[in-house]
């Protein structure tokens, strides 16, 4: 019962956030909408007993990623009013048509069963830190290490682009 209520409310919120993000003229409003969606999804995670992931979602996604987005939006220019005319031919019609088809296809695909795996019966998932940590450091150790490496590479890449990108001489850039 509780879950149902939560689902309806936050489901609507998520959809509203998403639509806002796509429709808003001002990108800042869009970012706000996206944050709403992310919070809603965090609530859903909790409903599904994925507590750790919910925390991570809020901290990292809503906290760090969206903040980063807002920074860049401010940097790039908030006051630019985007022209609503579409200059690519048939883009709108095609996109909408295809999207409807896609959505219908997905819903149709899931009418029988949403998952195809076998699963373990009678073992409700508990997404605690210990559980995830246990899984992560035993079964998924290698992907874990690789992802760490990926983060380092990304950080280095970002610095390189920010400081040395667009042909500027590295020595002339002030630290």
């Amino acid at each position: 019962m509780v879950e149902l209520v939560l689902f309806v409310i936050f489901g609507l919120a998520a959809v509203f956030g998403g639509v806002t993000m796509v429709w808003a003229r001002n990108p800042v409003y869009g970012a706000m909408g996206l944050m709403l969606t992310m919070f809603s999804i965090a609530v859903f995670y909790v409903s599904n007993s994925a507590h750790f992931v919910a925390a991570v979602q809020v901290i990292i996604y809503a906290g760090a990623v969206m903040t980063l987005f807002l920074f860049v939006i401010m940097l790039v220019g908030v006051d630019k009013a985007e022209d609503r005319t579409e200059n690519l031919p048939v883009q709108r019609e095609l996109a909408l048509g295809l999207l409807v088809l896609f959505g219908a296809g997905v819903l149709l695909a899931g009418r029988a069963a949403w998952t195809t795996g076998v699963g373990i019966a009678g073992n409700p998932v508990n997404g605690t830190v210990e559980a995830i940590g246990d899984e992560l450091f035993h079964k998924w150790l290698l992907p874990f290490e690789v992802t760490a490496l990926l983060l380092i590479v990304a950080a280095a890449g970002a610095i390189a682009l920010a400081f040395f990108g667009s042909g500027e001489d590295p020595e002339e850039v002030e630290a």
Binding site: L4, F7, V15, G18, V19, M21, V22, P27, G30, L34, T37, I41, Y45, N48, A50, V53, V56, Q57, I60, Y61, A64, V65, L68, F69, V72, I73, L75, V76, G77, K80, E82, N87, Q91, A95, L99, F102, G103, V106, L107, G110, W114, T115, G117, V118, I120, V125, A131, I132, E135, P143, F144, T147, L150, V153, A154, A158, L161, A162, G165, S166
Partner: protein, 101 residues
């Protein structure tokens, strides 16, 4: 009626479609990027729901990894947008085309 994981997946599909529409219909690079994030979130949701349906923790572990990678991707992607903006002074992806015919 109880909320089955299937509901969450349907919702995830809807969010995914909305995100995709953002990519196809908006010209602003940042909005497009945010739409990508929305899509990733939708997928994460479906992962968790699937994990719940199958009673395995692997769904949540996958979400963990997706989040990490998404974060890294955002970092680099935004850095690129900033770099592009510095030279081109525009955030519209349409202007970034150099193909002639």
């Amino acid at each position: 009626m109880t909320v089955t994981p299937g509901w969450y997946m349907a919702l995830a599909a809807l969010l995914f479609v909305i995100g995709m529409s953002g990519i196809l219909l908006r010209r602003n690079a940042l909005v497009m990027f945010m739409s990508v994030e929305l899509m990733l979130n939708a997928v994460n949701l479906s992962f968790v729901a699937a994990g719940r349906e199958l009673n395995v923790i692997d769904g949540q572990v996958s979400v963990f990894f997706v989040m990490v990678v998404a974060a890294a991707e955002v970092v680099v992607g935004l850095a690129i947008i900033v770099a592009v903006f510095r030279t081109r002074r525009t955030a519209s992806v349409d202007e970034l085309s150099e193909m002639r015919g």
